[in-house]
Symmetry: C3
Subunit: 496 residues, 3 copies
């Protein structure tokens, strides 16, 4: 078979996956027209340019990348279950001094995600000098300090208060039910904390309990009857009312004096900041990155670094992908990875087998289940192993999920670094395996396995696998496209 | 703001939570009338009396406390998912010599309780000299002997039978699938055992297997075909039939001679009663109580006391609250606590965040789910953290559930002690934190945190927190009410 | 009561369990007629013969034993949730050189099986000289080599490939996400592997990921966009296309030279075959059987034998039941056992409590649940403990499930040995307890417990329990029937 025919087949197979290919798409026509008009292009370059136009058009139809003001992207009529835009984080607490936003329950997004239903992701923002009122949660939590610094106090047992300073890169595990309060003790910088929560009772049902408060948050004490409160505190109701008239919300502003006192106490109290180390926190960015090159860095902390992660079986990592670079296609053998974008822009692509079929299965109505059964039985006669691409634009505040086994690549667009805070569950025994690059798992195939797998001489396969000498992080696709698609075409696209 | 206005606000906020406040309520009118007629009352005392009337009326409407002959209390049109009256325990085994009753499956009560679906609670009663036929369960079990004494035999592997005497306060763990039989060897006293069961197969589906029996219980051997039984036992069917014609039920009466022989054998066989200790059981009441005062005692046993509890991650405790006293508001950081009332009367109050919303979520009909999603999305714009009170009367044989994080107070009414057997799951690493009393977790707040949380001078907060000097158990609310509401008003209420 | 009356009662109780007893059944009439015509029979033998006819007829109605060409047996209008015929294994991969078949998801069979939903069973067949392309799964796997020999390669981390020879009886654990390929290096014999899979993400949703391939299997790399692939591999799309045009399927034929090279490398590379032992595999058949007699052998391997089974909590066993013998009624205290028939024919009988009620509960429609609740509440008033027989014919390629606590007997029909590969989950702390035979758990009952349980003198019970002197495996029922039912009756039955 000649090469052009092959290319054509390759493309066609892609188009078959597209939903409804409309050959009359006017934007596609314009794009192709631009290609043919490029005088500096050879014939094959013109053809390639047109192919790019088609690919671009197809992607636009398929994934409908989200833009400002547009409605949420659809996942075959549903939402893509693996991507969460900024709006998927919903306010739990909000005041003029800060907020806590928590990602919707995973089962609300899709029945497909029931297996991670007990986890929630959250983002806390505290303004300069803000104080977050004491509260407890019915969930274990791991905090990662994205930005800023503050003092965190944890009341976990009687006659014991732990106080420690936190700053960018710190990981802190908070045990379920611990009463927690914190201050941003900086006068200028906001304090941002990303967190993963693992509920201990009803999976994914997260509850905040404020012992103090007025109308919002209400103190849980107000739901006890007066007779119990009066007996418990030996105090008449009128006096109690005075103590629960707090009307300023769950995040309030502390005075300079208050902050100074609390900060001083925390640094005296055996906490590590600014000197020393405690076992209560771990600074991820102080650790040597596990991977580092001009294209990016990856910092990992597991229970070996921070013992408090052990029983949760969680790993925390921070990826910093240089603008224009990418993280090569890889997969986790066992972990599911939650990533929150904390800086930059880009996109990820993930190979996902059989998503449509599974989704039907997840939504099990009586009738649906029966039909599905029949479908699957029929399909079993002509099973075909194929994959669907999942692609989403990434920007500050969005998040995505990579289940175990799923190959994924992450690309940093433009000049800014793409920064991700990642929480990986089922971390024990997990391996991160790269498909491309210096460490490609494919290099370990035996000579004969290469021949049989690629239907090509092993030497040719080796030559191919050897080309990319970077490891994990490498130059992204951006420059290549710019070199080969005329700039005005791209501008046209942008104007769609 | 003047104090009366504040009081009013406080009350109004309570009334807003009530379902439908009917100002024309004739009972309320009568009650208030009584208040105004108390000549010995000052004006403020009269006003307080009226407030009590309103509160009482509201509670009556909201919680509709259960009385003899009334129908089960409603939980916003459903049943309160955290309280289980005596009738919720259903007979599994019943004969004239005893019974085994098991609490309904938690998912039958509410989808909200799916997370504890693999647990069941049970109560066994064996009359004097009763013998419970050998059987096994597909569940792990922890027994607590509420009353009486007996001999328990456990057949767990070939050529091995464990026999041990049991008496009030004993904890015994029975491994799933062990063949068990027991006798009440007392001539007069009933043997009562509370148990928690953790199913090993289908969550919450509990199955009893009797190897012996006739019509009821049927022996499971009778469901094998004759040909297999004849080959297995080298016995003709007619002879087999004779052995499985037992018609006396699962709990039968043993003769004095049989009891004497079994009892003697158990005390010879290395079991501890009446001397010595074995590792097979643990007596909770022999241990020093973890909390003890004139207001109550608390006995706790975890895997440190009794290793057999370790893999189940269960703690057993016994609370004995003095009549008229109460257990101060507290919460468990991680455990869910099942409590069974084994003596006395009283009530519990629990603060429960957002119950209605969650329940909708639990019952996920297609339409329901969609509506809920929209509701939650809308709500996310104006999230308000508040709590609902759960209150139920407690009496002998009823049970309740306290999930992790939920603050609860338990009050013993009248003169009799309120006694509770408690099984706590997810016991490892759990802490019991009190909100009120000498050990109040609130005392550990820093000075500035108190100021910011209560919007009051720290000194005032400290003074308030210091008033109650009792720890965990303290005087209950009963006397206070009696002192301040005229007796005839109360009588009127009782006559409603 | 006289013996005949008792027999009658016994039979009647059986008939009451039958669905609809039709006294006019013509086949039953014919059978009984044959009995009465046997002149060599005594009156009691004639009566027994008639009883057998009735029993046979009842079983035919109840269980409708599956025959060639008949439709699947029904489970009260549903499918028996514990038996899986050969067709329940569905093709995932199929080529002319081999196949991988995986058992349907357990929840597809019945909601009753949700508790084992994360497990799947599979069978791999590779023709002589076949090569299975590199792939990974999002599931942990345990392989058992049923027949044949080959070389298995596992790529689990960068710069590390494990290669080991496998042969009949070998157990290998493959960690989730490991890239695996294997060859059958024999020129004549097929390679058969049974496997249990435990999914790590969505329970029971199993996904194969091929890094290589063409149309089927598709390489997951093809779902990345060209721009990412070109950047990752520093290769133009046209060259990439060449490497992913493999059109031969997931199982291909290797050349003699390729096999020789791969086989040599695996035996050099520290793997054990044909000499030595590695810790990576364990040969079950090299171990001394835990039970062995002329009636059968049982081989067991747990984490003590093969450490890799520990975290999965799985035990692997192989039972070889001599033709005409049976495995005596027994139950597992904690494990659920999956058995795959790999040789011979036979049947199993299992006692199953309350199956119908539970199934209703499993299928929880709104209305169904409410009705069930009422039913259960009513039933609680007159609870009766009884069991239903589950019986299925077993033949090569079928499978069945024995949940914990369920007593079961397995019979090898005819002359051929019945061979079963078994995977037992929740293996830790499990005991296999026999009801009949030398090790019968019933022998451990005390004298008085025997009297009270069987309502018969202990001596009589002992005499009965002592008759069967074989242990675990014993003579099956086949001969007995042949001796006592006239041959022509049986022929008549066969002609039904």
């Amino acid at each position: 078979m000649a090469r052009p025919t092959l290319s054509l087949l390759f493309l066609l197979s892609f188009f078959l996956l597209a939903f409804s290919f409309n050959a009359e798409d006017p934007e596609l026509k314009t794009c192709k027209h631009h290609c043919r008009q490029q005088r500096q292009f050879s014939e094959s370059e013109k053809r390639e340019c047109e192919l790019r136009c088609e690919e671009y058009a197809r992607e636009r139809r398929e994934y409908n990348p989200r833009r400002e003001g547009e409605e949420r992207e659809r996942w075959e009529g549903e939402r893509n279950p693996y991507f969460f835009d900024r709006e998927s984080f919903q306010h739990r607490i909000r005041s003029e001094h800060g907020s806590v936003r928590v990602l919707e329950r995973f089962t609300q997004r899709s029945e497909l995600l029931r297996w991670i239903e007990k986890y929630r992701l959250g983002i806390m923002e505290a303004n300069p000098n803000a104080f977050v009122l004491p509260h407890h949660l019915d969930a274990d939590a791991v905090f990662y300090v994205i930005q800023g610094c503050g003092t965190l106090n944890v009341l976990r047992e009687e006659n014991n208060r732990e106080s420690f300073s936190i700053r960018k890169g710190d990981i802190v595990r908070i045990r379920a039910g611990s009463m927690v309060y914190l201050i941003n003790h900086d006068d200028n910088e906001k304090l941002y904390i990303a967190k993963i929560l693992r509920t201990v009772s009803s999976p994914g049902v997260l509850r905040e309990y404020f012992a103090v408060g007025g109308e919002n948050p209400q103190s849980f004490l107000r739901s006890f009857s007066s007779e119990i409160l009066e007996a418990a505190f030996k105090t008449r109701r009128e006096s109690l009312e005075k103590l629960f008239r707090h009307e300023k919300g769950a995040i309030v502003k502390a005075s300079k004096e208050q902050i100074r006192a609390m900060r001083r106490r925390s640094s005296e109290g055996g906490s590590r900041w600014p000197f020393g180390e405690s076992s209560s926190t771990f600074n991820l960015l102080n650790k040597r990155p596990s991977i580092s090159s001009r294209h990016g860095q990856l910092f990992d902390a597991d229970s070996g670094d921070y013992r408090e992660l052990e029983d949760l079986d969680i790993q925390v990592s921070f990826a910093n992908i240089t603008g224009g670079s990418m993280m090569a296609p890889f997969y986790n053998t066992r972990s599911a990875k939650f990533a929150i974008i904390v800086g930059g822009e880009g996109y990820f692509e993930m190979a996902c087998p059989h998503v449509s079929g599974e989704q039907e299965e997840g939504e099990r109505s009586e009738r649906g289940e029966r039909e599905e059964r029949e479908t699957e039985e029929r399909e079993s006669q002509e099973k075909r192993i194929s994959y669907q691409k999942i692609k989403s634009q990434l920007s500050h505040g969005s998040a995505f999920l990579i289940p175990a086994g799923h190959p994924v690549a992450i690309v940093a667009s433009g000049n800014e670094n793409l920064q991700l805070v990642c929480f990986e569950i089922k971390a024990k025994d997990n391996r991160r395996l790269f498909i491309a690059g210096k460490d490609s798992i494919l290099k370990q195939l035996e000579k004969e396995a290469k021949e049989l797998s690629f239907n090509a001489p092993a030497k040719e396969v080796d030559e191919w696998l050897g080309r990319q000498e970077e490891k994990a992080f490498m130059a992204g696709p951006e420059h290549r496209r710019e070199k080969r698609i005329p700039v005005n075409s791209i501008l046209d696209f942008a104007g769609f």
